[in-house]
Amino acid sequence: MEATQQAERKSMNKSTASARANHDVRASLAGISGLIWMCRVQASPQSELVKYLDHMESCKNDLLDILNSILDENKIEEGKKQLKEEEFNMEELLEHVVNIYYPNGAMKNVDVLLDPCDGSIARFSRVKGDRIELQRILNNLLQNADKFTSEGHITLRAWARKPGFEESSTLNTSNSSIGCMPCLRLQNDESSAEVRVLNRVQQDPNCVEFIFEVDDTGKGIPKEKQKSVFENYVQVNDQTTSVHGSQAGTGLGLGITQSLVRLMGGEIGIVDKQIGEKGTCFRFNIFLIASDQPQLQEHQAISVNCAKEEDLESQLGGDYISNDSYYHSVASDNSITSHQKSNVILFIKEEERSRVLRRFMMNVLGLKVHVVNRHEQFPQTLKKVKGKITNSSSSSCKSKEIPLSALDGTDIDISSFQRRGRGLRFILIIIDTSDGLTREMSRAMAELRKDFPKNVSLRVVWIDKPGVDEDKLPSTDIVITKPLHGSRLFRVLKFTRETKDETTSRIKTQQHTLVQDVSVDVNGHSSKKLPLTGKKILVVEDDRMLLMICKTAVSKLGATTYTCKNGQEALDEVCKGLSEQRDIGSSTPSPPFDYILMDCEMPEMDGFEATKCIRKEEARYGIRIPIIAFTAHTEKEETDKIFQAGMDYYLPKESKGEEILKAIDFIEHTKV
């Protein structure tokens, strides 16, 4: 009795003592924080002192983190931890967490990717639960993976499903797309708080089970140590890389993680890998309340056999389980059969990512995927695919015509059209150019674009850098940055569902969201858009001073400015720009410049002559660039000459910002 009471007292004392210690430690840390701040104010900005202060600040933050994790562990152990319930977006959370570790991984050549698995997360992405704690779990696992992996990849997989009622306390881990995994049992735990949560969430009809895996190719955990990693204060190999203070860790992470997972009704464990595979795979499941997305349909098994005509996909044989569930999907009247005409050529540097994408696109979306592993294979793959679609498109053209009225947006039902298996074809090429683009590849691309069949859509997605000068790319091309997963991946895949006219009309807006779009004005600040942001303007003027003034004025309005000293140079620039368009093989060439500001009197070739020549050259491409004349004469005969030469407007030579803008405005408004 005495002993029990004493034990209880000791335990209580320990709690109070630790609470007090917590308070005291925090107070001291706060003191340090304030003192650092005061030192900073007095230090001169570029000095060594500031660097030391920064370091001190980060050490202080580390201490705070350690303190917080100790306290949290106590709270959880004592069953006092309360999970919050707030709505959040699961897809965003997963992408956010992966992207935190992506740059770190990239630095040591470890690819960190998000595997969409069967696409089920998209269907249940609106969830209610404790976002912060779930993020903490994922953070912990990813951080460990990052710490112990120096090559290969780290994959976060996630999928969701409605739990069967009989599964309330066991974890059934069979999943067709991943393969058989050993069962994990929920351990009996006396903590009453957990049992309560378990029942409540799982009894909710909207309960959804989420399963996560963090798989890495790192050092791995030896079988005999696997059980103990979840015990608090135990670390495996804590002598390894300890570059920053924060990497040292307290060995608390997995313990807390396990407690949190259990609090959310699930269980965590280490999954056995195949023989010869190295690294560790943690898997856990939790239960959250999720709302079923209304626009998306249930799993549909679509049999390919209904499409009778020549079908590239049928060459593969078998059925696909196509799942309509990727988020932000376009109006669902574009039915699944439209995918069956879509081919994707995938050239991605990272092996695992390439495998994951291919699996997803083929198994889940039903696309035909051609994977290019080495850049030598690229040209022949392009040729092969083009050959196939040219052949099949020519034959299908004969048998079935797509009435033009179906493409102009009138109320012909495109979806019914497509359901008959006559979907518009699509080729999506995803190219990773981070290692550069060889000449053979560029040539192969140009070859592909030439004489491309009209009823097939082509879209090229460049990863990291465009193959050629970005301005010279056809406007349907998209440039995106790595990593290609999550929302970026889905935006790219959305293209496979567009109809051809949607592709062309959507160009400007897509480029706006996907391209690294930062409008930088003359001050070098990324700011609100200036009137001429994104416009390319050519200034032609022989006088240095006037050229400088005009160039600055135009650049200050936000435009990209090019200059020439006389008419001949201007003509050469325009001709070069136009013919480069032709080389790329785009069907709708865009003008090399949006406007030309042309001085009338120049040596070698004056403005009038240059304009006449430019107009002649343009006519061959069906383009007309607006040309504004700069003149020192405003008499009628001069102005007549201006319009006769083919110019669109004139301005006095001294014109600076305002007047130039007015001229451009005028031209824009009178354009029909």
Binding site: P45, G524, R544, M545, K653, E654, E658
Partner: protein, 206 residues
């Protein structure tokens, strides 16, 4: 020496230039095009103006010195001078160009020569005014920066030494040179102006 006082004299000086018609609205527009990413814009444009104008004035002198004056050529030069002075906002120079062109039309060498004389005078006046304006501006930039906390003590000392004439002109120039370049990355152009100005005007500001 008070920075506030300096700033006021700068503003007053600039206002007088507009008031007396040396500069017009086009010059203000040039000033508006200048910003942090383009801090030497006005100075660079005006320098080009000086170069071009001096060349043109030389050409005009030579052209009118010929036994058979080519008035078409003279007119072309004047036309160009009119254009550049107008763009830069050198109003009085521009205004001289119109009667000059009339004289060319009349093909009267004597009146042309008189016009040339007038234009040269106006040009030199505006050149002098603009140079003073720039030097005042540069000096403000340097001295004004003395109030900033990022100013290191040795640089402040250097400027003061030059101002009080404690350092010899060449020492002063060296000091200022290194200070201006390292501290503020001033271009050679600006450094020369600052040094000139300090030695011309420095003492009377103290």
């Amino acid at each position: 020496m008070e920075v506030g006082q300096l700033q006021r004299s700068f503003v007053e000086y600039m206002a007088s230039l507009f008031r007396e018609g040396f500069l017009d609205a086009q010059f203000s527009q040039l000033q508006q095009l200048q910003d942090d990413s383009n801090p030497d814009f006005v100075v660079e444009v005006v320098s080009l103006f000086f170069e071009d104008s001096e060349r043109l004035l030389n050409d005009l002198t030579m052209a009118l010195d010929q036994p058979n004056v080519d008035f078409k050529q003279v007119d072309a030069h004047v036309h160009q001078l009119k254009g550049s002075s107008s763009s830069v906002g050198a109003q009085r120079v521009k205004n001289c160009c119109v009667p000059f062109r009339n004289c060319c039309e009349e093909q009267n060498t004597e009146t042309c020569l008189r016009c040339l004389q007038q234009i040269k005078q106006e040009y030199l006046l505006v050149k002098n005014k603009l140079q003073t304006l720039f030097e005042l501006a540069f000096f403000l930039a340097t001295v004004g920066a003395a109030d900033c906390s990022c100013w290191r003590s040795n640089s402040h000392g250097a400027i003061t030494q030059c101002l009080t004439g404690l350092a010899s002109p060449s020492e002063g120039k060296c000091l200022l040179n290194s200070v201006c370049r390292e501290e503020f990355s001033f271009s050679d152009f600006l450094v020369d102006h600052i040094i000139n100005f300090i030695h011309q005007i420095g003492l009377c500001l103290l």
